[in-house]
């Protein structure tokens, strides 16, 4: 009680930083996969991210979330690599165009997914469905739903306003539910009988 409150966490050594950064490797890999359609592009982003992180580790503030710091580096590495290659056209309108169809499918999707959401073997189907989403939605869903980042952190990492994070999450989750219902039906996890037909 008489001890003074710690003003700042102790500075990290290079070894301690490296160990901390490596605990986030799976997270950085998943985020990189959310940014790129291609697995080997994602691996390049991960390597580039850690290369930069190990070089400029002294700019990391001890006590802050190392994943958020690495996600930001990964996003920048991804943007840099995309400038070098062919620029991918971002179909931001894809979701909006499908909005009407979504409305009609909502009940079908919910009815189909409801009985299977607690299954423990659903992971691979979710990963496959996520891979089909446009990047802008996928990266928001991965940061918030898989990596448990607050909206404000996701906004900073992605370089967009918090309101945009919110709308991308909403659209992304609805698209993900549709793709997942389709995957589950194709894989026979949802019986056609239970799922009905998509109007």
């Amino acid at each position: 009680m008489n001890e003074p409150a710690p003003v700042a966490p102790a500075p990290l050594t290079h070894d301690a930083f490296s160990a901390l950064a490596l605990t986030a490797l799976d997270d950085v890999y998943r985020f990189a996969r959310s940014l790129t359609r291609d697995a080997s592009d994602a691996e390049d982003v991960v390597q580039e991210t850690y290369l930069r992180a190990f070089r400029s580790w002294t700019t990391f503030q001890p006590g802050t979330d190392v994943r958020r710091w690495l996600f930001t580096i990964a996003r920048n590495a991804f943007l840099r690599s995309r400038e070098r290659g062919q620029r991918e056209v971002i179909l931001d309108d894809e979701g909006a165009a499908a909005a009407d169809a979504e409305q009609a499918q909502e009940a079908w999707v919910r009815g189909g997914l409801d009985p299977i959401l607690d299954r423990t073997d659903l992971g691979p189907a979710i990963v496959a469905a996520l891979a089909e989403l446009p990047e802008v939605y996928r990266s928001a869903v991965v940061l918030v739903d898989l990596e448990d980042q607050p909206y404000e952190a996701a906004a900073e990492v992605l370089g967009i306003p918090v309101g945009t994070v919110r709308s991308r999450l909403f659209r992304g989750r609805k698209l993900l539910q549709q793709r997942l219902a389709q995957h589950a039906r194709d894989a026979g996890i949802i019986p056609d009988r239970a799922a009905g037909s998509p109007v």
């Binding site: 950085v28 890999y29 691996e43 991960v46 390597q47 996520l130 898989l146 448990d148």
Partner: protein
């Protein structure tokens, strides 16, 4: 209608749905959260919707374990440390 903030102002179904995802993502302030919970406890349709979205979010979070960094990439990343580590 008052424009004063009322912590316990009731939410209707539209209001509840508009705040549902903020609630599930733990982004709501305490007053709005209790207003939402109060609505959901008394509205079957919003309760069902909230339960579905909560379970969906949990299933998506659970899928983390289905995607991990491949071992070969992990080794390449660790190898990046080699020379630097010896230098320190």
């Amino acid at each position: 209608m008052s424009t004063m903030p009322e912590p316990h102002r009731a939410l209707d179904c539209d209001g509840a749905f508009a705040r549902l995802f903020d609630f599930l993502d733990k982004e709501l302030d305490a007053a709005t959260e209790s207003a939402l919970l109060a609505h959901v406890q008394h509205c079957r349709s919003c309760f069902d919707q909230a339960e579905f979205e909560r379970r969906f979010k949990a299933a998506v979070a659970e899928s983390r374990s289905a995607q991990r960094c491949p071992d070969a990439l992990r080794q390449r990343v660790i190898a990046l440390l080699g020379p630097q580590r010896e230098a320190t």
